[in-house]
């Protein structure tokens, strides 16, 4: 492996990055509209298109190839939706039928013309991103690869269409029924999205290959979806992820693969970029904010800890109500047996409460502090108000309300608690005279700063 040269590797990365930019707009809409396999179908269907174009024109002129591919892309898009409608079959099945049949036809046609021209089916599949810089055009005194111009043009076109129809496309993507009532012409917008996707596939298959098109259109958009809830955010995110994929993928193909695999040759850049995009999606699934696995695990763990702490406080408050005291070790045992909390978690919850000044251990007796008693009172108040509510409003039997209240007490805030009190017919100045179904007083929350 030689050092990267700007004239070759720079252009390859630029082509990959431009491909990502071109694909981001239609890709985001395809992912949101859940019609992702269309990209796969169109990119396979271009094969018969270019074969027929060659048979008709007798040349490999890029314009003819493009026209053939565009016609094939249009045919597979319209043909499969027409087939799904008239044969009343699943749209996925219709898509699969149309594009594989066209691909088979394309293979046969290409074999027929094989000795007259070198049309390689595998070139359509993998593309020739490594060779794309060689096919260049002189523009303003600089040799610019044709692929850069084509992909740049498609990017601008997609951006233009997206800006013009932004409102309509957004409404259509998320709520076709609303789009219809607002007069946004959902059918037309759907056709615009599909047309954009098909045109991008057709324009890009030659330089980056049909499989990379599928990867570039769908994977960055699905990854960006994890990072953003806004359509514009998804599009910009897909662009950034796609560019990163092009950079890292080409680096892996030319620098990493030859070093680790015996033989010492470069791997396919298109393939490596597609695989890298897949790895970036996996990374997004793990680390994305809010939707990522790590964040979800941390949230779940914090919730588990909070519930354990609240169970400990509630338990101590109830013991205190009965004028009983326990040693810290006993408290832990009661939590493990009563609230089915694992031993280490009970130990950790108690340590946290001591650190936060909710709990103090004096002469081997675990006792709530003022703040701890306030927390305990609000928790037990929630619990007993829920018991009253469940019995009064939902007519649940007296001996069945406790377990449900045990769960609901942890998700009840001050506002909901006072609403429960009103619904249960308990006045604000009741001062703890009302009893719950088991005859225990509903405690007041002492006035301190900060409650449950």
């Amino acid at each position: 492996m030689n050092a990267w040269t700007l004239a070759v590797d720079g252009w390859i990365i630029a082509i990959g990055a431009l491909g990502a930019l071109a694909c981001a707009v239609p890709g985001a809409f395809l992912v949101v509209r859940r019609t992702s396999m269309l990209a796969d179908a169109v990119s396979h269907a271009v094969l018969p298109g270019i074969a027929v174009a060659f048979l008709l024109s007798g040349t490999r002129d890029p314009l003819w190839m493009f026209l053939g591919a565009a016609a094939a892309g249009l045919f597979v898009t319209l043909g499969s939706s027409a087939l799904a409608r008239i044969a009343r079959i699943d749209s996925g099945a219709a898509l699969g039928i149309v594009f594989t049949t066209m691909f088979a036809l394309g293979l046969i046609l290409i074999v027929q013309v094989a000795d007259r021209v070198d049309l390689d089916p595998s070139c359509v599949l993998y593309g020739a991103i490594e060779l794309a810089p060689l096919d260049s055009i002189l523009l303003l005194g600089v040799e610019v690869p044709r692929a850069v111009l084509v992909l740049g043009g498609v990017t601008l076109l997609n951006a233009f269409v997206a800006v013009i129809f932004w409102k309509e496309l957004t409404v259509m993507a998320f709520d076709p029924a609303l789009a219809r009532t607002l007069g946004c012409r959902p059918k037309l917008m759907e056709s615009i999205i599909l047309g954009m996707a098909a045109a991008t596939c057709v324009a890009a298959f030659e330089s980056v290959g049909s499989i990379l098109i599928v990867a570039m259109m769908i994977i960055p958009a699905a990854s960006a979806r994890l990072w953003s809830d806004r359509l514009a955010g998804v599009i910009v995110g897909a662009m950034l992820i796609g560019i990163l994929g092009a950079l890292v993928g080409h680096w892996i193909a030319t620098a990493v693969a030859p070093a680790i695999i015996p033989g010492g040759r470069d791997a396919s850049s298109a393939g490596s970029i597609a695989a890298t995009l897949g790895a970036l999606l996996v990374a997004s699934i793990v680390v994305a904010p809010r939707r990522g696995i790590v964040v979800r695990l941390v949230h779940r763990w914090l919730l588990t800890l909070r519930i354990a702490r609240e169970d400990a406080i509630g338990l101590l408050w109830r013991l205190d109500e009965d004028q009983r005291t326990v040693a810290p070790a006993q408290l832990r045992d009661l939590l493990v047996r009563g609230a089915e909390i694992p031993n280490w978690l009970a130990r950790m919850a108690i340590a946290h409460l001591v650190r936060d000044g909710r709990l103090e251990c004096v002469e081997n007796v675990a006792r709530l502090t003022t703040q701890g008693r306030a927390d305990g009172a609000s928790l037990v108040r929630s619990h007993r108000l829920w018991e009253i509510y469940l019995m009064q409003r939902l007519a649940i039997a007296k001996d069945h309300v406790h377990p449900t209240a045990m769960v609901l007490e942890h998700i009840t805030d001050a506002v909901m608690r006072e609403q429960l009190a009103r619904e249960g017919g308990i006045a604000a100045d009741d001062h703890g005279t009302r009893a719950d179904p088991h005859g225990r007083a509903v405690p007041e929350v002492p006035r301190t700063n900060g409650a449950n």
Partner: protein, 295 residues
């Protein structure tokens, strides 16, 4: 090559069995609304094949043992299925998007490995890229044996589990409620499909296997509304496509077998679309005059 030729007979028998098995598996995919799963699975076999070659060469083998490559293909397909499930859950995208993601990323990895292999000494003769487009004409008796074993296992599984699979296809939640092991049945469907994809790699290649899965099944679906009729019908369509495609390609010297099989299957589908009772276009037009057909 002519069709009295022993080699043509071997290929025709193998593709007929493969077509029958693919027809059965396709019915299950189609009714589960996962028709394109066959495509994701097919593409996902490529990195498996390439990795199996690399491992085989690394441990001193030739990398050409068919069972090694097919085991790699199976591993790739299973990884692909798991990938679809995990991406769907992890990234919260639709089934179809998850399939497109797995297809793109796995096939990309496969081509990257393939280019490295083809540049390595001896790699170009390994013939790995023939798995992409298939090479039915060079199938031999041992391939026939492998294809027939796979086909028979698929047929046996579908016949034994007909009742359960029908429940799974038409009312999954009811199947769950009455205590059928829905997850295992779902896994069985995917295992059957994986087996068919791997058996079909040599004959039609990993791209066109999708059409062998869905064309006969969709044609059969157009002809009947009964599951127990649809299954044998799809198997028959698949077998006819296999034999027909092989014979057609044996008459002309430059017709590749795999695409011919697909085009015969597509012809059967078009015939079914036109002439099927009730759902066919002619029948619908006739009934349209008599008040219309409501499926």
């Amino acid at each position: 090559m002519n069709w009295f030729d022993y080699n043509t007979q071997v290929v025709a028998a193998a593709t007929a069995l493969l077509g029958a098995a693919a027809g059965l598996a396709g019915c299950l995919l189609l009714l589960r609304r996962r028709a394109l799963m066959g495509d994701a699975l097919g593409h996902a076999t490529l990195p498996g094949i390439a990795a199996a070659y690399l491992v085989s060469v690394a441990v001193g083998g030739t990398g050409k043992e068919p069972w090694v490559l097919l085991a790699g293909a199976a591993a790739g397909a299973i990884a692909g299925v798991l990938g679809v499930v995990l991406v769907r859950r992890g990234a919260r995208v639709s089934d179809e998007t998850a399939m497109a993601i797995v297809l793109g990323a796995f096939f990309g990895l496969g081509t990257a490995l393939l280019t490295v292999i083809q540049a390595s000494p001896g790699g170009h003769q390994a013939g790995l890229s023939s798995f992409i487009l298939g090479h039915a004409a060079s199938m031999v008796a041992s391939d026939l044996r492998a294809a027939s074993i796979v086909a028979l296992v698929c047929v046996a599984l579908v016949v034994l589990l007909t009742k359960e699979l029908r429940l799974l296809c038409f009312d999954e939640s009811f199947a769950r409620v009455i205590g059928r092991p829905v997850r295992w049945l779902d896994a069985t469907v995917l295992i059957i499909v994986t087996a068919v994809v791997i058996a079909g790699l040599q004959a039609v290649g990993l791209i066109l296997i999708l059409s062998l899965l869905i064309l006969p099944a969709t044609a059969a679906r157009l002809c009947t509304d009964r599951f127990t009729v649809m299954l044998p019908l799809a198997a028959a369509f698949g077998a006819i496509s296999g034999v027909g495609g092989t014979l057609v390609s044996s008459f002309a010297p430059r017709l590749p077998t795999g695409p011919c099989i697909v085009l015969v299957a597509a012809t059967l589908f078009v015939l079914a679309l036109l002439f099927a009772p009730k759902r066919g276009l002619f029948a619908q037009a006739a009934m349209g005059r008599a008040g219309g057909y409501r499926p």
